[in-house]
């Protein structure tokens, strides 16, 4: 389904990034990093919209020939970026949304762990397996 999932801290360093093992990992790192430009743009365009009205889902950040990059930002400005294969036409906006929601829930669980230091890299096995399930599901 997703070929790369990344969680990026408020300060824009990666808290978690994982891509399908078959592909060149570096490529996705670059792609996710570059997509932060659009995330930043979208966040600043959102401006000071009321928190409860704010849409966390940022939509398609930018398409490339082979991939589509979607973004999501939490209220604490932690960003989720998901890269999806362009050829995977089965994935609609709604599916992407629900995947992000799942990711957000799992991330919240990570944050709830008293032994997790906010700002540290995510090493939770539960989170990892959730991401794995998101990546396997279709592809």
């Amino acid at each position: 389904m997703a070929v790369c999932v990344a969680v990026i801290a408020k300060e824009n360093y990666p808290l978690y990034i994982r891509s399908v093992p078959t592909e060149n990992e570096l490529k996705f790192h670059y792609m996710v990093h570059t997509s932060l430009d659009v995330v930043d743009e979208k966040i600043s365009a959102m401006g000071k919209a009321l928190v409860d009205q704010r849409e966390l889902y940022l939509g398609l950040l930018y398409p490339t020939e082979d991939y589509k990059v979607y973004g999501y930002v939490t209220n604490s400005r932690v960003k989720f970026v998901m890269v999806v294969d362009s050829s995977n036409t089965a994935l609609r906006d709604n599916e992407i949304r629900s995947m992000f929601r799942k990711l957000h829930n799992s991330y919240t669980d990570v944050m709830c762990n008293p032994f997790y230091n906010p700002g540290d890299r995510i090493q939770s096995r539960t989170f990892d397996s959730m991401v794995t399930s998101m990546m396997i599901q279709v592809c």
């Binding site: 570096l26 990093h33 932060l36 362009s86 050829s87």
Partner: protein, 1262 residues
């Protein structure tokens, strides 16, 4: 502008087939229509009409414009007609006929024929126009108004549709009537036109939908359907309903996309296989023409390829979007389209020659960009870069891949294979389109030029890249800009231009470092390393290599390679000896922890200190380091508490290990460097009333937080590391650092006292120096030198006098070495001794409290000096021992003390005891000690507390006298008291002190008292005063036996006037005749004062009067009942003259009344010595005046007084107690000392019974 046209009696056509204007009426009326036509075509679109639409679509105002065509039967649509554009919406019959005859003859037939044709084609949209002409009318005379031609026509043709026939009067005249009739006609025409249009459009849409629903049937063709729906789009477009037109294309787009997707999912439609034919032409989008007829025809002929269809569709969408003023959407959709096409070709497995798509995309990107630029001004474009930059970037990317494909990026240029490929690609472009042929910068020309030569490619590629980077930068998409920059760097590296590549790589690396993206960092660094190697930047290359060698994201082989690069360089003979390459240590090895021995990191001068560091080597292989050194900064800090021996002995560090935080490099700079906020509350109070003025929070490390972020310094340059050249260096040579943790130990001998701060850690490998510029947290060690010192302090909280007490001696040797024979010379204080024991043990320990040894020492005492010979001890050690000292229990009574305790001033004595009740009296002893290390003496003060406080009192029983001594133990200890003695110090033999105490030992507990009593007996006349000394032996109760005999505790005091002179006896007698006193009834009080001795020495004072060998003294008595049991009636006091002779008795009689019943104590009788005023004369006068003054208070029931002076004396009692009275001199009263008066009736009580007639019985029990 496009318009929609209608034609005369029949209708035709839009712009697409160029407009034909074919008016028509009856054959003869062609001229009529021609004459009207200009006005008609001009007037028709002037007024807008409201267009109501089906399916709830919003109504719109539209302007109708029509094309008029001469009616021909073959123009009428056949059944199943799909053309909407050429559809005749309204058929109009024009006639000028005004003659009934003519009408009947020709026009009617003509009309009938026309109507039949229409009916045959089931067309109901028609109109008959009768043009009336005044000029023509005049010629005809026999016209009946009622049977006008119009009526006839209506009657014949307009069956219940009278509105289908209109009259147009004098159309060519300029009169109001003409105007009116024109307006009416136009309105009618518009309404009918619109009606027809709506009806036919609805029908068309329905047909179209029906056709669409058939798409699953075999044989359904997308291209056919495409043409039908496009017809609708054209109609909307002509009506200027671009939105609606666009919707048609979008629907087509979506439909096609869905088919492609379904095809990918295995559900292929037959017609789609046609689009799967191999791509042979890739000439890009064409957006300059509103309709690309060439491509349209291909679709119509069902010969279009996928790219053709997509191109045509997009060109139409683009045109409409531009009409809608939405150029930015064009850009956005273009990018989507390009991505989508590439995907679709992949999905449909269309065979595409390599590079063909790149060409197509490149051309299309540029075409879209140029098209947008063509319809927007510069400012608009600049403010919407965000929309177009994607296309720029995409074009750049595609050009790059074309360049790589065609061998234009390599150093050598394209080979023949590359050239062949280039030729093939160029062939696929075809010839340039005529519409761009004259444009210098057309995409076609650009591509052709770029592929023509290496130089041209470079120029175009750089142009595009720079433009893209600039655009990204200008809209703040820095990351994207850096990413394009990296591509550019790669290009430069391929072109062997590392100096140009470096800038881009550094920029990108900085960006990744700042945001902590590990993999991009590693990758970029690897590229940078190569670049630096080519550039010959040795230092930078070595640093990057060291970073890469320690990078865990690289494979072991790669890490080893970079590590070897460093080692190889280090082993080379340097070109210029002494040249150092200084690199930061962080990547090479990390300092983990540091440990001092001794663990508190304090050594004395000459002591040995070792520092053990743990260094974690980051290198993948073992590295042999020539030398590891720690630079140490030395500073002399005076009065540094850390260096004193006290600090040493009091502070014990936990384990002496200092841990260094492990820096995790992948985390972004910002996170690491910013310290945490240090916030503190502040309160500012006003100085006057301490009320709160301001309160707030202060950040104490603002300077750290608000520091400007260093943006200019590159993170990868080693310039920040400066090698310190310190005089003090800890070194360790020839160390091999294995990967992982290594322990290195440095040893040093402390030389100068001061504080040493570890500053830098360097590891050297030949000319390469790895330097840790700052060791943080701060690590220091101290070297101290210390003066020898002696401390003497009691073991207990306070020292007690009189018993042996332990005192601790501590000798801190400091830099002095105690030799055998060194001794402390104590000059003895007078009342303090040092008790010598046969065996004394001293403990010698090092400054860090490690016990070194035990030694015995000797103490020798002579009269003046006690000598303690110290055991030998090395420097910086401590000798500790304890000695017993004894202070004499009580110092000889000082003058003050005896006066305080004297009987004469009982008041003051009492006050004093109060004050001293809680603390013991103390004595200070000063001892001066001569130490061997100093020519000066050390003076030590020891304070001893006296454990007891003693009080004494005199007790009388008639003339017998007793002395009571109270000893109070103030200390915490219990004591045994023994051998209590009281001796008269005057030593007179006629006085005897007979002890009434037990002779055995007495235990006195802590905080408790013991009383001793002696009876005083004398044989001759006693002396007026008696000096006594009380002494009692004491020893601590807890100790079994003391080695030495202790001095007894002594107390000296004086007793004066202890001989009883007067005996006072009081007696109350019930009234005569009754047995008991009753409350409320008067009783008599008899006081008798008896002199017990003859004239004594103590009597000789002012009160004594002598007449004829007969002495008398004046006394004042006073009866006071403090407990208010008695009411004294009459005088309660009086002055009597007392003869000074034994057994002389004076009796006083008074009346008293008991106020309560019960056993009542007698009222007090007090006796005072009555001293006259010094001038006896005036006192007499005074006394008289007193009587007068006092006369009012004199009771009626006056005198059983023996003496009239009693009245006077009473007055004087008042004046003695009260304050001055009229300032006159008064007689004085002096209390008799308690030893001189004995009240024999003290404590007697008398029974008082309640009176019978009392209603209330009060019983007072005392």
């Amino acid at each position: 502008m496009l318009r929609f046209t209608f034609s005369g009696s029949c209708v035709c056509s839009s712009v697409i087939p160029p407009a034909r204007v074919l008016p028509r009426t009856g054959a003869g009326d062609q001229n009529l229509f021609t004459s009207i036509y200009p006005t008609l075509s001009q007037q028709l679109p002037r007024e807008p009409m409201e267009w109501r639409r089906s399916y709830g679509r919003a109504p719109k105002m539209i302007h109708l414009e029509s094309n008029f065509v001469q009616f021909k039967e073959e123009l009428l649509p056949k059944e199943g007609n799909k053309a909407l554009l050429t559809f005749p919406f309204l058929h109009i019959y024009w006639t000028e006929c005004c003659d009934t005859e003519v009408y009947k003859a020709t026009v009617k037939d003509d009309l009938t024929k026309w109507q039949n044709v229409l009916k045959a084609h089931s067309s109901v949209d028609w109109l008959i126009v009768v043009v009336e002409n005044d000029a023509k009318k005049k010629n005809k005379t026999n016209i009946l108004p009622r049977t006008s031609i119009v009526d006839k026509i209506r009657n014949d043709f307009c069956n219940k549709q009278s509105d289908r026939c209109v009259v147009l009067s004098d159309p060519l005249k300029d009169s109001s009537r003409t105007q009116e009739s024109w307006n009416a006609f136009l309105t009618k025409l518009r309404t009918l036109l619109l009606m027809s249009f709506t009806k036919n459009l609805g029908k068309f849409e329905d047909d179209m939908r029906t056709l669409r629903e058939k798409r699953t049937e075999p044989g359904w063709s997308f291209c056919e359907y495409f043409m039908v729906q496009e017809e609708l789009a054209f109609v909307f477009e002509m009506l200027q309903q671009f939105e609606d037109a666009l919707v048609q294309y979008d629907e087509l787009d979506a439909l096609f996309s869905q088919y492609v997707v379904n095809f990918g999912a295995g559900d292929g439609a037959n017609w789609l296989t046609f689009f799967c034919q191999p791509v042979k032409s890739w000439n890009g989008l064409i957006l300059r023409k509103p309709i690309d007829m060439e491509k349209r025809e291909l679709i119509q002929r069902q010969e279009a390829t996928l790219l053709d269809l997509r191109s045509y569709l997009f060109s139409r969408q683009c045109t409409l979007l531009l009409f809608l003023q939405r150029p930015w959407e064009v850009a956005q959709r273009a990018l989507e389209l390009l991505h989508n096409c590439v995907q679709e070709l992949k999905l449909l497995e269309v065979s595409v020659p390599p590079g063909a798509l790149d060409c197509w995309v490149f051309l299309s990107c540029l075409e879209v960009l140029q098209r947008i630029e063509g319809c927007c001004d510069r400012a608009q474009i600049d403010s919407n870069i965000a929309h177009t930059v994607g296309l720029w970037s995409y074009a750049t990317e595609k050009l790059k891949s074309l360049g790589y494909l065609c061998g234009l990026v390599s150093e050598k240029g394209p080979n023949s294979e590359d050239l062949n490929r280039t030729v093939d690609l160029l062939a696929g472009l075809g010839a340039e389109r005529p519409e761009t042929a004259n444009t210098a910068q057309s995409p076609y020309k650009k591509l052709k030029e770029a592929l023509s030569s290496v130089e041209a490619f470079e120029k175009h590629y750089l142009d595009l890249s720079h433009a893209t980077i600039e655009m990204y930068t200008s809209i703040g998409r820095i990351r994207s800009a850096k990413f394009v920059g990296k591509d550019l760097a790669e290009f430069y590296m391929r072109k062997k231009l590392p100096q140009k590549a470096e800038m881009y790589l550094q920029g990108a690396l900085k960006n990744y470092l700042a945001e902590g993206w590990a993999l991009p960092i590693t990758h970029t660094r690897k590229q940078l390393a190569e670049c630096q190697k080519h550039l010959g930047q040795i230092e930078n290359y070595l640093q990057t290599s060291s970073l890469l060698a320690s990078d865990r994201h690289l494979s072991e082989e790669e890490r080893k390679y970079f590590c070897r690069e460093i080692l190889n360089f280090a082993s080379q003979q340097p070109a210029s000896p002494g040249h150092k390459i200084v690199l930061p240590m962080q990547s090479f090895a990390q300092l983990r922890d540091l440990h001092f021995t001794p663990s508190n990191a304090v050594v004395h001068v000459g002591g040995v200190l070792s520092v053990e560091i743990t260094v974690c080597s980051q290198m993948p292989v073992a590295v042999h380091v020539e030398q590891i050194a720690i630079n140490v900064h030395f500073s002399i800090e005076k009065n540094n508490y850390r260096k004193t021996a006290e600090w040493l002995t009091k502070h014990k560090t936990s384990n002496g290990i200092i841990n260094f935080p492990v820096e995790t490099s992948p985390f972004p700079e910002s996170q690491n460097s910013l310290p945490a906020l240090e916030l503190y509350e502040t309160f500012e109070r006003s100085p006057s009333d301490n009320s709160l003025n301001t309160t707030g929070i202060i950040c104490k490390n603002v300077h750290m937080l608000l520091r400007r972020q260093e943006s200019s310094t590159s993170l990868e340059t080693p310039s920040g590391v400066a090698l310190e050249d310190g005089a003090h260096v800890l070194k360790c040579s020839s160390v091999t650092l294995e990967p992982g943790a290594n322990t290195i130990t440095f040893r040093t001998q402390a030389k100068e006292p001061g504080t040493y701060t570890l500053r830098q850690l360097c590891a050297s490998l030949g000319p390469v120096w790895f330097v840790l510029p700052h060791i943080y947290p701060l690590v220091q060690y101290d070297v101290y030198s210390q003066e020898p010192q002696l401390h003497v302090e009691p073991l207990a909280d306070s020292l007690l006098a009189g018993i042996p007490q332990k005192v601790k001696f501590t000798v801190t040797t400091g830099h002095y070495t105690v030799k055998n024979g060194d001794s402390l010379q104590l000059s003895n204080a007078e009342a303090m001794f040092i008790l010598c024991h046969a065996e004394n043990r001293a403990v010698i320990s090092s400054n860090t409290r490690e016990k070194a040894s035990d030694a015995s020492f000797r103490v020798q005492s002579s009269d003046k000096v006690t000598s303690i010979s110290l055991p030998a001890a090395p420097a910086y050690h401590m000798i500790e021992f304890e000695l017993e000292v004894l202070s004499l229990p009580s110092a000889p009574a000082t003058g003050g003390e005896s006066k305080m305790l004297g009987m004469t001033e009982p008041q003051r004595k009492h006050k004093d005891t109060q004050k001293a009740a809680h603390c013991m009296a103390t004595t200070d002893h000063k001892v001066s000690i001569d130490c061997p290390w100093s020519i000066y003496s050390t003076v030590i003060a020891l304070t001893f507390s006296v454990p007891f406080r003693t009080r004494h009192s005199l007790l009388s029983a008639g003339t017998r006298k007793y002395v009571q001594v109270c000893v109070q133990n103030l200390s915490e200890l219990d004591f045994q008291l023994s051998d209590s003695k009281l001796v008269d110090t005057s030593g007179s033999t006629d006085l005897q002190l007979i002890p009434l105490n037990t002779t055995s030992q007495q235990h006195i507990y802590s905080k408790q008292s013991v009383f001793f009593v002696w009876e005083l007996k004398w044989t001759r006349e006693p002396p007026p005063s008696l000096h006594c000394q009380f002494s009692v032996g004491f020893s601590p109760a807890s100790e079994e036996r003391l080695s030495i005999s202790l001095k007894p505790y002594t107390y000296e005091f004086q007793v004066e006037n202890f001989f009883t002179l007067y005996n006072v006896k009081a007696e109350i007698l019930p009234p005569v005749g009754t047995e008991h006193c009753k409350t409320g009834s008067l009783c008599s009080l008899e006081v008798s004062i008896t002199r017990l001795s003859d004239l004594l020495e103590v009597d000789k004072d002012e009160a004594l009067t002598e007449s004829d060998e007969y002495f008398s003294t004046k006394l004042m008595y006073e009866v006071v009942d403090n407990s208010s049991n008695w009411a004294v009636c009459g005088k309660s006091s009086g002055v009597i003259s007392m003869p000074v002779a034994a057994q002389a008795t004076h009796r006083v009689h008074m009346e008293v009344m008991p106020l309560f019943a019960g056993y009542l104590p007698l009222p007090d009788v007090r006796l005072f010595k009555y001293l006259p005023h010094r001038s006896a004369h005036s006192s007499q006068l005074d006394a008289d005046s007193w009587i007068e003054n006092d006369s009012l208070s004199v009771d009626k029931q006056v005198d059983d007084q023996l003496d009239s002076s009693s009245l006077r004396s009473r007055a004087s009692v008042h004046s003695a107690t009260g304050s001055e009275h009229k300032g006159l001199p008064m007689p004085r009263l002096q209390a008799l000392p308690p030893g001189q008066v004995f009240n024999s009736s003290t404590g007697t009580q008398i029974l008082v019974i309640p009176s019978k007639d009392d209603h209330v019985l009060e019983v007072s029990v005392t």
